[in-house]
Symmetry: C2
Subunit: 438 residues, 2 copies
Amino acid sequence: MQKLMPGYENVSPLGVMNFLSEVEFDYPKAISFASGRPTESFFDLDAWLGAIGVFQKHDAELHGYDTSASARRLAQYGRTGGLINAIVAAQVANDDGLTCTPEQIVITNGCQEAMALCLQTLCCHPGDVILARNPTYIGVTGAARLAGVELAPVDAAADGSLAGTLRRTVAALHARGKRVRGLYLIPEFDNPTGAVISVPDREAILVFCAERNIVILEDSTYGMFRFEGDARPALATLDTSGTVIYLGTYSKTLCPSVRVGSAIVPKTLFGDAAASREFLASMTERKSFLTVNTSQFNQALVGGVLLAEGCSLRRLVRPALEFYRRNRDALMERLAVTLGTSPAGIRWNHPQGGFFLSVELPFRFEACDMVRCASEYDVIVMPMSFFSLDDSQANRVRLAFSNLSVEQVGAGIERFAAYIHDRLAQETVYGSFTSSVN
Amino acid sequence: MQKLMPGYENVSPLGVMNFLSEVEFDYPKAISFASGRPTESFFDLDAWLGAIGVFQKHDAELHGYDTSASARRLAQYGRTGGLINAIVAAQVANDDGLTCTPEQIVITNGCQEAMALCLQTLCCHPGDVILARNPTYIGVTGAARLAGVELAPVDAAADGSLAGTLRRTVAALHARGKRVRGLYLIPEFDNPTGAVISVPDREAILVFCAERNIVILEDSTYGMFRFEGDARPALATLDTSGTVIYLGTYSKTLCPSVRVGSAIVPKTLFGDAAASREFLASMTERKSFLTVNTSQFNQALVGGVLLAEGCSLRRLVRPALEFYRRNRDALMERLAVTLGTSPAGIRWNHPQGGFFLSVELPFRFEACDMVRCASEYDVIVMPMSFFSLDDSQANRVRLAFSNLSVEQVGAGIERFAAYIHDRLAQETVYGSFTSSVN
């Protein structure tokens, strides 16, 4: 921790992801809204390890092996593209309404590897650019930097829509001689903001990207965790032009340690079947020289759980979904009580699902403020600037509510509100408050 | 398969690794010396999965958790650098005589990820070059190409030594304005040749690289599989100057599906402790944006097996070691009987361990010849040109003997010898034999 960001003053964007996993170690007494880890309350390690046997039995029957031959096959090197592709295809059909063949899927070491491989495969020329909604998931920022790919911000318009600003951003990049290759989005319950993209906005984004051969990388990580309202169709299910690569993970629905994710590539990329096959072949080759293949033990574990659940995760995630909903409710209630009557300039959204909520403050909140909050108020919140591709997010923070108890959520918000009230009182005294809200 | 290399005529170097895993599917009747997969005869999936419990118990005792807290911790995200570093440190101390601290180790998704991360971390400027003995492991060739890093060949001298040619190669690269950052070597039982680097050559290579700040990437994959003769000390154990990064894997000693490997970075890189810490931090950050962390299930499996074995793999690998030795013996015997009295120009080495043997032929052996061998003689051998960084290996083949029975080894060599005899007879008729050996 100290090595990567001494004193936290100069947080390198590349260091934030490590920071997220390690900041809690430095302030063990603080209640942390920092990391979007899934709750551990419903992890069932023994049952999941037992599911490897369920997959083995299925695999043996499918191929006419005896179970010991299936076990040996499982322990050996496997196909780079994956072992459980057909089962994953059935699950996304059931849970997300997405129809695909096993050959369209590459099974990866979590969603992060899927994303990194897609970025590298898409951007093979200097001047190739990927777009991302701003602020965005730090994992895509890091993967782009490591691949030497420019990540250009798309800011939401005042009404929250993206299609309009997308058009302007792409025009400006074209004028600079850039080739826009992809657009990274988390349409359902965005990390870090918790926002959802509306259906008309989804349709407009799809039409725009299809016309310009911009591949949409749709990250579905939080899609299973909707608390209320109707589910929006995934971009990939609206896609009739071969525009969307659908990225998935079992880190949140099962647990992070499985390290199993996937990329689902359209059958025809912008109508071109050969381009799609080439993309898959190139992506798979890249994977073979990074990680060879995704552990077949872990694939068998995921495959076995899915088989046992009838290739749907809806039933399995229900307790966690209720847990997250209760935390969201507690968060909304405490925010209203502690900050609802505060001066203008404090606002937050009402996430309909997922792990995150964002708060807008009437002052800048930076790494040093986070440290002060942690050390003096025993609460950790993340500056939104950590996730930003420019300077536009300095007044916002991200609250992750996925790995706390209801009591911790309540107490944590009390502490954060105390910090805000103290700071507002102080800044009013020193006269800086009015200048920073205007 | 067909997609990547239609007709096998134009085998792209990047396609060889996929090719290795998939060629057997295309010729199911052929005996294959193609892939260096470990034997499956001693895989013990149930026992290994059971070892996760051994690790859990150890982990709970170590940290004062109850076992259910330990299970939840295991299923969650973990530290990017790894969970079982102390156990791995104990194992390399016992088995390889290498002393290191847990902090020097990064646990990776197999040796391939360790290698890819090291290449990327070492080579951050245009003109940075990695050296490799020629021919070399296709995994390092692929990883270098994907990272945009030039991989320069170091050919062995007539007596098999490398230090002399290393000196000349580096001088030539410096003259071209290149910065040589690393040297990739498999000193024990090289893939693809089976060769071993002598102790004086190891010492000379170390002195040379230490003087020029060239990091040696020592791949120890086959080191545990010595059939005869005294073990040579690993370069990392001879290293007093902070020159060697030691790469390890459990894919061959346990099984490939664990996808657990490691990189051990010297405490001081060329005497500089800060440089070493920076290297580790940069490598770990890269890992966090590629694969987040290595699955803690798989780490726990490896950790549990190691704990149960007293942190040494010597006892566990003995049956496989005997298996490989018997195959090597059968291979040597059949080669002597079928090709020992053939005309000059057919030679092979006597591997003292590992998975591979190389044969030199009096004619070129290319991808099309491999296909002819497979389809007409029902035997698959790998052209050494697949592993070559230049045109120098056209007359050699690699025979992998790790995943065949003794009977298959014997029958396979009979078939390969029949191909060679037929081809020699044919080429003598057409007059091309004498021209191609001279």
